[in-house]
């Protein structure tokens, strides 16, 4: 069996992703996805699990410090046996470092004093050009000026949409030439994570809207224990 078609069966068993922002739910449930991913061989399954643990928000421990996350990434990424997975992890964590810098600057913080304050090749560049709108990285990261502008405008949803779209399009570009190999499985799983994240935002927005409506409807109404009974 040729390596480029190692996962023909697995990938054919996965329903296609539609467009990211029009999705109302993931193409298959998390349980079903995990079930299908059991077809991966042991090493690839380990690689995918490590990769998702490193880069997906749903997998992050909210109590971990930045330093702990960075140390874990620096320790685990070089051990990933698949170069595609390593490059992708590097790219996502570099992107996250740049967003972190934008948010810090937006809060009025000074440039980081530590040399290794973030992940990847741009940390020193960011420190040196802290006051430039896009840290002079417009060419390497064309999404950065727009992200900075939206953040300055306080458009949080716009920033989130831009970042999700950037990752989605990056994965789409990487998909060229990978149809039934392990890279295609990685791309599918990461896109599934993006859809899951976006659709969960809808859920949260719906809950917030529901709370607002309840508050509006109950405005001026006093609930006493007798009335509730």
């Amino acid at each position: 069996m040729t390596d480029s078609h190692r996962y023909a069966m697995l990938l054919s068993a996965l329903p296609a992703h539609g467009a990211l922002f029009t999705a109302r739910q993931t193409p298959l449930s998390r349980i079903r996805l995990e079930q299908r991913l059991t077809q991966l061989d042991a090493e690839d399954a380990r690689t995918l699990r490590t990769l998702r643990t490193l880069i997906e928000w749903a997998e992050q421990d909210p109590h971990s410090s930045d330093q702990a996350v960075l140390e874990r990434a620096r320790r685990q990424i070089p051990t990933l046996p698949d170069p595609f997975a390593r490059d992708l992890a590097d790219w996502r964590l570099e992107m996250r470092t740049l967003i972190c810098a934008l948010r810090r600057r937006h809060r009025g913080e000074p440039p980081p004093s530590e040399r290794r304050w973030g992940y990847g090749r741009w940390t020193e560049q960011v420190r040196r050009h802290w006051n430039e709108p896009a840290f002079r990285l417009e060419r390497a990261c064309p999404w950065l000026p727009e992200a900075a502008r939206r953040l300055d405008q306080g458009d949080a949803i716009g920033v989130e949409r831009l970042l999700l779209r950037t990752v989605w399009e990056h994965l789409e570009r990487l998909h060229d030439g990978h149809h039934f190999d392990f890279a295609a499985v990685i791309i599918y799983a990461l896109r599934w994570d993006l859809v899951a994240r976006w659709t969960s935002y809808h859920h949260e927005r719906a809950l917030a809207r529901f709370d607002d409506l309840i508050e509006t409807a109950l405005d001026g109404v006093e609930l006493t224990p007798e009335a509730a009974a």
Partner: protein
């Protein structure tokens, strides 16, 4: 030296069929796995997926026909021609079967998501089949020129 030439002649005689069979094995396995995957994800059209997945089996049939066409007494005079035609036609059949299997896997994957492109998605596999037919036909034509 003569023994080696005769051995090569036999290799050519069997080569077209053997290499075609190897290609068909790999091609059908690739397309077959995609077909099984597609059946897991869909509720209908199973026969269609299986039908596409066996397309790369034609190469072994071409190989068998070439082998019978080449079949004659293997001598020092006939062995070089048997080797050249058999091995080269076999290689063409092998690669075409593998690539056709990959094209079929893509066709299955695409038509599962978009059933309306089923026919069009088979065009690449059909074109690859055309090249296998070229190798087959011209191997037969050339085999006619080998002394009996």
């Amino acid at each position: 030296m003569n023994e080696l030439v005769i051995a090569l002649g036999w290799a050519g005689l069997c080569g077209a069929m053997a290499l075609g069979a190897i290609g068909s094995i790999i091609g059908c396995a690739i397309a077959g796995q995609a077909a099984i995957g597609a059946m897991v994800d869909t509720d209908s059209g199973y026969g269609r997926y299986i039908g596409i997945s066996v397309m790369p089996s034609s190469q072994v049939i071409y190989g068998i026909v070439i082998m019978f066409t080449l079949q004659r007494e293997v001598t020092v005079d006939t062995a070089p021609a048997l080797f050249g035609i058999g091995i080269l036609a076999g290689l063409a059949l092998l690669f075409s079967a593998v690539r056709q299997g990959q094209a079929c896997a893509s066709a299955i994957h695409a038509s599962k998501t978009k059933p309306e492109i089923f026919g069009l998605s088979l065009a690449p596999a059909a074109i690859v089949e055309g090249f296998a037919v070229f190798a087959f036909v011209f191997a037969l034509v050339l085999a006619g020129g080998i002394p009996a």
